[in-house]
């Protein structure tokens, strides 16, 4: 499949980790915030003189536009792709699946590749916004290498629309320094401590799925509930907790890092990144449950550079490339070929690969939670309360 199947050397790994550590802060400043940070990237890319010169003139065009999440890639991989193909990778960063869907529904996004989460595929197919994948153009994709749990949502009605990027969990990150060195273990504690000694120090996501989901979990309800009574309970809790929040944002790493925030709803990769740099920040899963998810590489139907899109996805599926991605973003891979290349301490890392009994209460997001108007409106009411 790939020409070069060497494991990356120990030295290369250490260099990567080091450059990630050094580079991560500057990257974050510009990529995150509101997704508007992407404007800077777009502007940079639109000045021809600033684009890297291709090593050779490829036939896939001079660029490929990727819509993705914050802190989610190894920038060096994009440079390598540009060196190999001549196509510059233009990155647009978003905060939620809802936002991506809204942009695609409105039309004319200019994206070629995006990274939707498991529960969105049914709607993308229903709305005819997503391109069925031609597997012959993805020689690096080996279905047998992937754990089915994290690959199955990419197919709808037997047709393949997405190939797994990585999976992860949604838990919480807590700065244990402020809690006598102790972490917490449930969503109930998350909200209780926020209204008590962590008042003014907690962040919840600007994302209905995880914020409402966590509040539902605190009552022992399903993360995916659309039951009116259960949603009303969750809303009451969220409104009560709002005056005690530090912020409502999906860009929680800066606040956690500079010490303003002590507790946040957190995706496992961010948890890993925070914990690596500041060991006092622990990443834990709520014992009532929470979200387990899988993100996929996919191509929007509206893409005008499909050859470039396939080339980028195929490039990223190369286990030698993907292993560098995992080292950068800290999310677990569903690809056994990539897993085998990971250093042993990461294979046994409790944040990246949590024990099975901790994962079992977690739920995959359901399609209905994406489109349920009551959940959407509840979130909007909570924010403008």
């Amino acid at each position: 499949m790939t020409k070069n199947i060497d494991h990356i050397s120990k030295k290369e790994l250490m260099d990567k980790l080091e450059s990630y550590r050094k580079g991560s802060i500057t990257r974050r400043h510009f990529l995150n915030v509101t997704g508007l940070g992407a404007a800077a990237a777009v502007m940079g890319a639109s000045v021809p003189g600033l684009r890297p010169q291709p090593a050779f003139a490829g036939d896939i065009g001079d660029r490929v536009v990727l819509a993705t999440w914050p802190n989610y890639h190894e920038p060096a991989n994009f440079d390598a792709f540009t060196d190999a193909t001549g196509a510059h990778v233009q990155v647009n960063v978003f905060g939620s699946n809802e936002e991506m869907l809204a942009k695609l529904q409105a039309g004319a996004t200019g994206w070629d590749v995006y990274v939707p989460t498991n529960y969105t595929f049914e709607d993308y197919v229903k709305e005819d916004l997503i391109e069925p994948l031609d597997i012959s153009q993805l020689p690096n994709y080996d279905p047998s290498a992937f754990d089915a749990r994290y690959a199955e949502a990419g197919s709808v009605n037997g047709k393949l629309y997405g190939v797994p990027k990585n999976w992860g969990s949604t838990g919480m990150a807590i700065n244990t320094k402020h809690n006598g060195g102790n972490a917490i273990s449930s969503w109930r504690e998350f909200f209780d401590i926020t209204m008590d000694k962590f008042s003014g120090r907690t962040i919840v996501h600007d994302y209905q799925l995880t914020t409402i989901g966590s509040a539902l979990n605190a009552f022992g309800y399903s993360f995916n509930s659309v039951d009116e009574k259960e949603l009303a309970d969750a809303e009451k809790l969220l409104i009560d907790v709002k005056p005690h929040l530090f912020a409502i944002t999906s860009d929680y790493q800066p606040g956690m890092r500079n010490g303003d925030a002590w507790l946040t709803i957190c995706w496992s990769g961010d948890g890993k990144q925070l914990n690596s740099d500041m060991p006092e920040i622990a990443y834990v899963l709520g014992k009532e449950g929470g979200e387990i998810w899988s993100d996929y590489w996919a191509i929007p139907k509206s893409s005008e550079r499909k050859a470039a899109a396939y080339a980028l996805i195929n490039f990223m599926l190369d286990p030698n490339v993907n292993v560098k991605e995992v080292l950068a973003h800290g999310y677990p891979t569903a690809d056994s070929r990539t897993y085998d290349k990971l250093p042993d301490d990461l294979k046994s890392d409790p944040i990246i690969f949590p024990a099975q009994e901790l994962l079992s209460p977690l739920e995959f997001g359901a399609a209905v939670t994406l489109t349920d108007p009551n959940r959407a409106e509840l979130m909007a009411r909570f924010k403008s309360a």
Binding site: L101, A102, Q105, A247
Partner: protein
């Protein structure tokens, strides 16, 4: 070519621009505002007033906008006036150009990046840490209405300084001498001559800042931490998160109407204050 045709031809580019970029979108938004949310987001055309009836659910956003926009405008005015006065009247002409350029310099960098800088200044390791050093502890600045106000004043100050500067710069200095010759004390000269003659600049500056503030999105999003919510933020949420275009359109139409009413009242007040309507250069 007659005079008439030539006039129409000259007006055509601006007219087309207004039609395509202003009238058509506003009409679309107006029509959408009577529609309903489509099942998976977007809009289905209908004729219902449901969206307007639901407006109280965004009361907090309107309230925040309607308090922080005027407060921000007034604060910017109070800070900008002495600066503009100094630049126009007191500053050594040799330095004037340099000082004016210094006022513009911040505009060379994106407001996004400049506001991001304030996140660090107002965050726990910024100004509060300095204050702790002199004994003021536990002060929280970031993600409060105060932080948003600071960002607003910082971001919009040049827009206030320039119109006031222009009207003070045009001011005939002989009037000030005359006033003084006739025995007026400096403060009386200021109140009776300088201030009234600079009202067109004040009016223009306030109008520019106020109108832009009513639609502000970025500063509350960055410095308010998602907790200080403007109508602009509510609109972004309605279109991008809950994808309720019909309700979003109703909120947008309401904002436009509120602005029209406010600006009309404001114009009346200004003209009563002595400045004629033509003096306010943006209307």
């Amino acid at each position: 070519m007659t005079q008439r045709t030539r006039n129409w031809l000259l007006l055509a580019p601006a007219g087309t621009w207004f039609l395509v970029m202003l009238i058509v979108p506003l009409t679309v938004v107006f029509i959408f505002s009577f529609g309903e949310r489509a099942p998976s987001g977007g809009v289905v055309l209908a004729l219902t007033f449901e969206q307007y009836a639901n407006l109280p659910a965004r009361w907090a956003a309107f309230k925040n906008t309607m308090t922080l926009a005027p407060i921000g405008t007034l604060s910017a005015l109070i800070i900008a006036y002495p600066l503009a006065y100094f630049l126009a009247v007191k500053a050594n002409p040799r330095w004037k150009t340099i000082l004016l350029v210094l006022v513009i310099v911040p505009f060379w960098t994106s407001i996004l990046i400049r506001s991001y800088a304030w996140i660090f200044l107002l965050g726990g390791r910024g100004i509060p840490a300095l204050l702790e050093w002199v004994g003021i502890e536990g002060l929280r600045l970031i993600n409060t209405p105060f932080a948003v106000l600071v960002g607003i004043i910082y971001g919009y100050l040049p827009l206030m300084v320039f119109p006031i500067f222009v009207s003070l710069d045009k001011l005939d200095k002989r009037l000030l001498e005359a006033s003084s010759d006739l025995g007026a004390k400096p403060w009386k000269t200021f109140l009776q001559v300088t201030l009234p003659l600079s009202i067109p600049g004040i009016a223009t500056g306030c109008m520019l800042v106020f109108i832009l503030l009513m639609g502000e999105y970025l500063i509350p999003a960055l410095l308010g931490g998602g907790k200080v919510f403007f109508v602009g933020n509510a609109l972004v949420d309605l279109f991008l998160q809950s994808r309720n275009w019909a309700y979003g359109s109703a909120v947008a139409v309401t904002l436009v109407v509120i602005m029209l009413i406010t600006v009309t009242i404001y114009m009346r007040l200004i003209s009563r204050l002595g400045a004629s309507r033509e003096d306010v250069s943006i209307m």
